[in-house]
């Protein structure tokens, strides 16, 4: 069977694909940061509630305050990369989404439930008492499920050779569960989220953005601890993920491509450095290096995507029907948006000082 024949014909793009690539990388980084704070934060809060004790409960409460924001922004910041990935890889992601449509669409309803559960957890933290753990399990459980669905779709979209399964099951219930990369990939994201959320909480403590009565020093300590432990686990999961990749994809990072190999090398070095800085509890340095590490990881992720799709497609193949004025319009709106948001945050921070 000629799998390439299944791949839909893509639509033309208005500007060079590089624009979308950059926008995709930048917005995906933003999404990843917030999503990690959300998912990892939820997981950390759950662990804390399980452990019990006053500070742990307060930590759980602190996460509760942050959860509605982080869910809102995780979704919000997810819109842009999903838009740009549809621009560059629409023919793949639309197809794989249809194949797993039942699961994929369930995300929306579940997300609304998780979101409201997060608000209940936030607004009724004290009143809920013991039930708060159940509410959080419900919310975080859904977020973990959603992440798993994303991992399925992001891998299924890269493998047209698996799409033939649709012909015998067009009901939208397919998954990519048997893919050897699925679990290491998923865990790589979840564990990574715990690490980054640990850093996020430590930063909240460090900059005094706490709303609960949690002790900032404890928050920083717990956060850094979660970060370090998760990062150590992450190194092994990352290696598992690497070897689980199809050979031609894996080799991109193992000598076939200098760029890919360099990224992997930098990533490994930075990982070790992060563990070191984490153990040293050097928050700011760890944060900066972690951010660089995330950029490296995102670039690697995308390189793997290109390698997967190499037999079929590269975004440079997309037909360009040049039309630059909408891009300029967007950039102007984007700039205005940044100024507005900056201005509003300034007002909000000013207000915090007033109250303090």
């Amino acid at each position: 069977m000629d799998f390439a024949a299944l791949i839909p014909t893509p639509d033309a793009i208005p500007v060079d694909w590089g624009w979308f690539y950059v926008l995709l990388m930048v917005t995906f980084l933003l999404h990843l940061l917030v999503m990690n704070a959300m998912l990892g934060g939820g997981i950390i809060a759950l662990f804390s509630l399980f452990q019990g004790g006053e500070q742990n409960n307060l930590l759980g409460k602190e996460v509760g305050y942050k959860l509605p924001y982080t869910i809102a922004f995780a979704v919000n910041m997810g819109v842009a990369p999903l838009l740009f990935v549809q621009v560059l890889f629409g023919q793949f992601i639309y197809s794989s989404s249809v194949m797993m449509a039942v699961w994929w669409l369930s995300i929306i309803g579940l997300l609304i439930l998780a979101y409201y559960a997060a608000y209940i957890y936030d607004f009724k933290f004290d009143a809920l008492q013991g039930l708060r753990t159940l509410v959080l399990i419900f919310s975080v459980g859904i977020l973990l499920f959603i992440g798993f669905m994303f991992s399925n779709n992001m891998t299924l979209m890269l493998q047209p050779e698996k799409w033939v399964a649709y012909l015998s099951n067009p009901g939208g219930t397919l998954l990519n569960a048997e893919d050897p990369t699925l679990w290491p990939r998923y865990l790589h994201f979840v564990i990574g989220a715990v690490a980054i959320a640990g850093l996020f909480l430590a930063l909240v403590g460090h900059f005094g953005f706490t709303k609960s009565k949690v002790d900032p020093a404890t928050l920083i300590e717990r956060g850094m601890s979660y970060f370090t432990k998760a990062t150590i686990i992450q190194i092994f999961i990352g290696l598992w993920f690497l070897v689980a990749l199809p050979k031609e994809v894996m080799m991109v990072f193992m000598g076939k491509s200098a760029y890919g190999t360099a990224l992997l090398t930098i990533g490994l070095v930075l990982a070790v450095a992060l563990v070191y800085f984490g153990l040293k509890r050097n928050l700011l340095l760890t944060s900066v290096v972690a951010l660089i590490q995330m950029v490296v990881m995102i670039l690697m992720r995308d390189l793997a995507r290109f390698a997967y799709l190499k037999p079929y497609f590269h975004p440079a193949d997309l037909q360009v029907t040049p039309e630059y004025s909408p891009l300029i319009f967007f950039l102007v709106v984007f700039a205005i948006g940044l100024v507005l948001i900056g201005y509003m945050i300034k007002l909000a921070l000013g207000c915090k000082k007033e109250v303090a």
Binding site: P8, V98, W163, Y166, G171
Partner: protein, 880 residues
Amino acid sequence: MNYPVWDLTTYGGGFLIALIAIVHVLVSHFAVGGGLFLVTLEKKAYREENPALLDYVKKHSKFFMLLTMVFGGMTGVGIWWTIALLNPAATSSLIHIFVFGWAAEWVFFVGEIVALFIYYYTFGRMDRKNHLIIGWIYFICAWMSLFLINGIIDFMLTPGAWIENHNFWSGFFNPTFWPSLVFRTGLSLVLCGVFGFVTAAFLKNDKLRQNLMRTCAAWAALPFGIMLIGGAWYIKALPEIPKMIIFEKSPEIGAYLTTLGWFVPILLLTCVFMALRLPQSLQKYMSFAVIAIALIYFGAFEFVREAGRRPFIIYDHMYSNQVYVDDVPKIQQAGFLANAKWMSAKEITTDNQLQIGAELFRYQCSACHSVGGLLNDITPLVKKYDNVFGMDAKLNGLGKLNPYMPHFFGNAEERNALASYIVSEINGIDLSIPANPVVEAKELPLEIPAFNKDKDEYVLLAWNNLGMHCISDSDPYWVLLPPANDLFAQLVKRGDSPEIITEGVEIRYAVEKGFEFPEKQVRFWEFADEIFGAELRPGVGLSGKRLNGALDLDAEKRAYEASLIPVVPYPSDGSFNPYPIFTVTAVDKDSGEILATTKTVAPTSTEMGCKNCHGGGWRVAGVAGFTDDTSLDVLAAHDKNSGTNLVERAKNGQPMLCQSCHADPVLGTEGNPELLNFPAAIHGWHANFLTDREGMDACVACHPSRPDGPSQCFRSHHSMFMDCTNCHGTMEDHALSLLKKEQEAGKKGAARLMAGLKPRNVDSLEQINGRTPWINMPDCLNCHEDFQMGMTVDAFNTWTDGADELFRNRHDMMGAMMCEACHGSTHAVYPATNNKLGANRDSIQPLQYQGNDRPIGNPCTTCHTVQPEFEGHHPNSLRL
């Protein structure tokens, strides 16, 4: 066809998108207007130094945040999610065309969320002026989101100049952009009042609550003007076709339009009602009732707007089923399978036909039709199709006469596969059983009257002037043709110079046993008064003739005629017999002596295949006759397509004659002069469903000429090497010849029916010669030039000039014998051995007088006692 399609069956037909979109649009419009509501009330609270009002604004902002940001925001993403699953091709188009529009909208979405969080969480803690600024920023961002999405949504219905220039801005600022923006802005203001009732109604402070209820009522009611002006402007800005679909043609919009018509004033009145000083308990209930009313109103509007776009998802660019308009020619040429990805096979075989049919349904139908679901369920729509032919014909005609459906995209084989799937899998019909039974020839006993060539003085020739007279025994509902056969006879006194006898004799006729009482078989007489304005005694025909009686002399024709004898093809034993035999007897008026006796058939059939497409099955003996279901469905289709009320009339006991509106020369009706004549209308309409058929496949779908059917009306030797189309043209040619004449006469309806028809026997429409039905007919001499052996079998497109030139009305060169007297009826000219009920049934007189089945006069001595040497009847009559 470019993308895989999610097989949804029950939840197909747009159910999922309707579910999520309607609730989302309500909340998202509230999200826009609500911003203005909050800052305005907040400012008012500051101005009045009213802490209770300020407290309300804070509470309302929490409700607002939880509803708009969580539910509104997530369902907004959900719409995108859903359309990408239901229609990835259109989603991809919209994403790629408007990528930077979406991206800009995302920026405002971020702005909205940041602003709303800050607004809510800093309420009462931020400097008043700054807090109001945050509120304003929220409102501006929310309205800009509306501004941007409005452009893209309206683009789908009215892409305007984008279709030509593919320019982002042309598509965005499309013809309905501004009116829709006004409408939606007005609506979002209305909704902030509507949702305001909910939070206000629960306030414990009675005075504040009553004040706020009035405020909300004002917010809800006052912008109605903006909304209605926007709505009216929007309708005005719509192009003609969507406007026509919305207000006239769409079968699905009517209910939603009615709902809209009711719920706009209901919403307004309810909002005004809420301004009254009501008890709190009622206010609580009513606040939710108002939201429900708003939801129904706006849901109906969205349904109308979406359905008005049919059959496109992006007007003039992509059909609802993801087929690009530009791709249609290549699909129609090479087939759907050749062009589609995601099909399980590239060729149709006997084994995979139903599977391919199912896939074609998924790819071409499921975008709008569920199977057994809530929205546009296909099941009742196709229920009447109990055979593949009918379903196939329906698919063949899709989108040609009613613009709200797309054409079927594919070739005839693929269309047949889809039809087979629907009939077999959805309707559960066993395809191995033929829809119309194969009727084997069965010779009925027939005694040829005696003739003694040496002794008998007279030759009595009798015939039916039409080779087949069709009857629609759908009398309680409508009548197309009543029972009305015309029998003719000429009496020849043999001799050296034979003489046609028109005086002193009486020619009598009597139908064979079993056919004497047609009134026991059909309900024609119950409705004859209503339909024909003739009070007929049961069994009496429209000109007063019964099944037994005497023929009247038509001196001009030198023949005797009994017109409109109400023969029906149903003998008393309940069977179907389209060829009843009449015995015709010439009697000396003075002496009462029988001068001559002969027999002839009166071909009469109710094997009219309306049921093949209209459902209902056959009424009589499983082979013929109209059932109530068939008859009603024909009317229902007419009502639906032409805006008539024929079903209602029929149910009130007022069936109609089709030709009372549609003129018809054969019945002599003048009809409505603005409407197409009957043959042009009925053939023109149905030709659109029966294009590109082989041979006479299209003809036999309706006429009783099916070779394996019970009537097989084409019985002459011509049927051995010709079919209907040789003389009448293919269905398309035939229809076009009728329609062209009507178009030339200025009939408006012709163009619509002609648009989907391409001539086949000739190269272009220009070459088709328009004709008046029953007057301008193909002539025998088109092939039999100078009465010689025909050298061609193409008689189409050369028509007789007038009724007097018709074979059935014409005489020989001497004006003596009528053509049919010697050659037999149209479609059954001698030799006519292909009668299902016996090879001799149509050749009684040649057999009686000549002992052969050749035309009368073979030999000449049948009438001429001395062999003539002069060709008096017509050239070649002596075969010299």
